[in-house]
Amino acid sequence: MLGSVIQFTVDALSLGSLYALMALGLVMIYGILRLVNFAYGELIMVAGYTLYLLDGTALPWLVMATVAVIMAILTGLATELVAFRPVRAKSVTAVLITSFAFSTLLQNAALLFISPRARLVPLPDIFTQTMEIAGVIIPLRNLLTIVCSILLLVLFAVILKRTVLGIALRAAASHFTMARMLGVPANLVISIAFAISGLLAGVVALFWFGRIGSVVPGIGLEPLLVAFIATVIGGMRSLLGAVVGGFLLAFVDISLNYLLPQNLLQFRDAFTFSMVILLLLFRPQGLVAGPATGQRT
């Protein structure tokens, strides 16, 4: 009994902390620009392919991982430059379409220049080792995921609450025009938001590939969907909401895995997405309401 409780807790927490980071990366951008970045999942894809391309070099894994995260950050910045900045002042629809187009562009570039087939991602030994707690075997990477994610979340919270940068970001999220009038540089804040989003996606990618082991061009869709659902559950405007939503979604997912019969389990995505639609209808602000709405420019 104790064993299965531990198993369930570790499963839910490790998946939840990954989901929380994914959701946080999406909300960083939504909070400030009120726009969904459809190319978010491709940041994870880019990090994966970077690891794949660096495989075989003599570099230690940590260096490869750092390079992968940096590539994700750069791709995040590129998304902003290509898909957001030129059309930001035009219509909401235009930006959504450009980000969707940029996502397709990156995916097909991977198809074109690398391969449509799955490619193995190099992983350090620690990701495949396991340890035994109270009679259950638990993969070390799950514990590692929990620890790293919580460290990152704490670091992130401190930056947002205590530093000038964090205050500027939160000001921009709550009322963009007012923040600009008070001297917050708009382009810089938006670029930094995209860089942070890329950083989160890069770190998520390391652990995500730790779970699945290989990268394909369409890899970004699932993380994007997860981040979508988690942010809608938690609240599109609130960073805390994104984290809550991520953990809640993982908890629901893992519970459904344990509880639902096989023939219904395959419809799990239909259930979760119906939940998203219902939530947007009846509680559009999500479970955790964000700051009062301000205008985007």
Binding site: V82, V87, L96, T104, L111, F228, F267, A270, I277
Partner: protein, 342 residues
């Protein structure tokens, strides 16, 4: 009935479709026939998307799912009896007994898509901007998941074989021409004009009495009806397909055609479909030529999508309204002068 500039627009938009059919029939080449038919079917889908997206200003991802509903409804209902037992062994008894002609199937498929959209979309139409887009994306996911797992009717994620072949180029072209007229009539109807007013200023239009969610709903259902019919026509052309055909890749192509041409006008939808098809076929030929010549060590895939994505981003940056912009072709100064329309 209509202002002369609208009649002239209709005439000028139907003309290229007629010319295309004539050209293909004269040439009699199988490849050209296939390209022309695909173009007409895409035109139906793009026009369907234009009816909702162009008039309401809201991006909809669910459109392709309604195409899927039309395709499966029409394909399954018109399938011959002996074929049904082979292609869909688990099909419900009631549906096994039914066998209708493909053309009736296409109509029924359109109605089925419209009914589903009428029920599921009614509450969604209150939402605007990003929330509306996310719900339509979620709707696509829900419908896609159902299509992939509803083994009894769709054969699950596997390909559905044995759909009757019925669509020929003239049939697809007639359907496309009909859709041009329907899209233009909706745009100029009371509902269409009000919906465009809502698009331009939701608050002001609401203040003069426009029922925002009802108007959007009307546009959405009509759009789903057109997508369903497009799906049916496509199903009887391609004859075997899987749920993967109604997903993000197809969404991207249809959306690209509309955005490049210009979402606000029917002319934009028609122009975009022709332009992107020409671009695609050119690129595909290049891709094939490169692959056959073996210039690179591996086969080239994804080049067409890369170019389409780049052109979409480029168009949205340089000309956010698309190439055609916000005027129908009949309202452009040159054309007005030529036809002496005041």
């Amino acid at each position: 009935m209509f202002h002369p500039k609208i009649l002239v627009s209709l005439l000028l938009l139907i003309l290229p479709v007629v010319v295309l059919v004539g050209f293909s029939e004269v040439m009699g080449v199988r490849l050209i026939d296939r390209i022309a038919t695909t173009l007409c079917i895409n035109l139906i889908l793009v026009l369907g998307l234009q009816v909702f997206m162009g008039n309401s200003g809201i991006l909809s991802f669910a459109h392709i799912a309604f195409m899927g509903i039309g395709a499966y409804t029409s394909g399954v209902l018109s399938m011959p009896l002996q074929m049904k037992s082979m292609a869909l062994p688990d099909l419900y008894q009631v549906m096994v007994a039914i066998e209708i002609s493909p053309f009736a199937g296409i109509i029924v498929g359109g109605i089925a898509a419209a009914l589903v959209s009428a029920v599921v979309s009614y509450p969604l139409m209150r939402l605007s901007d990003a929330a509306a887009v996310i719900t339509s994306f979620a709707l696509l996911m829900v419908l896609h998941t159902i299509m992939i797992h509803w083994n009894a009717v769709t054969n699950g994620p596997r390909t559905l074989f044995g759909v009757q072949s019925a669509t020929t180029l003239p049939i697809a072209a007639v359907a496309a021409i009909l859709m041009i007229v329907v899209a233009m009539m909706f745009k100029e109807s009371r509902a269409g004009i009000l919906l465009r007013a809502v698009r331009d200023d939701e608050v002001a239009a609401g203040a003069i009495g426009a029922n925002v969610s009802r108007l959007r709903w009307q546009g959405f259902v009509l759009s789903a009806l057109m997508a369903g019919i497009g799906g049916g026509v496509w199903a009887h052309f391609i004859t075997s397909f899987s749920p993967q055909a109604f997903y993000l890749k197809e969404t991207f192509v249809i959306l690209g055609m509309l955005v490049i041409g210009g979402a606000a006008t029917v002319s934009g939808a028609v122009f975009g479909t022709f332009a992107v098809t020409a671009l695609f076929e050119g690129l595909r030929a290049t891709e094939n030529a490169i692959n056959i010549a073996g210039i690179f060590s591996k086969t080239l895939v994804g080049l067409t999508e890369v170019v389409l994505a780049l052109s979409m981003i480029g168009i949205l940056i340089l000309r956010p309204g698309g190439i055609v912009g916000d005027r129908e072709v009949g309202a452009m100064p040159v054309i007005r002068k030529f036809f002496r329309i005041r």
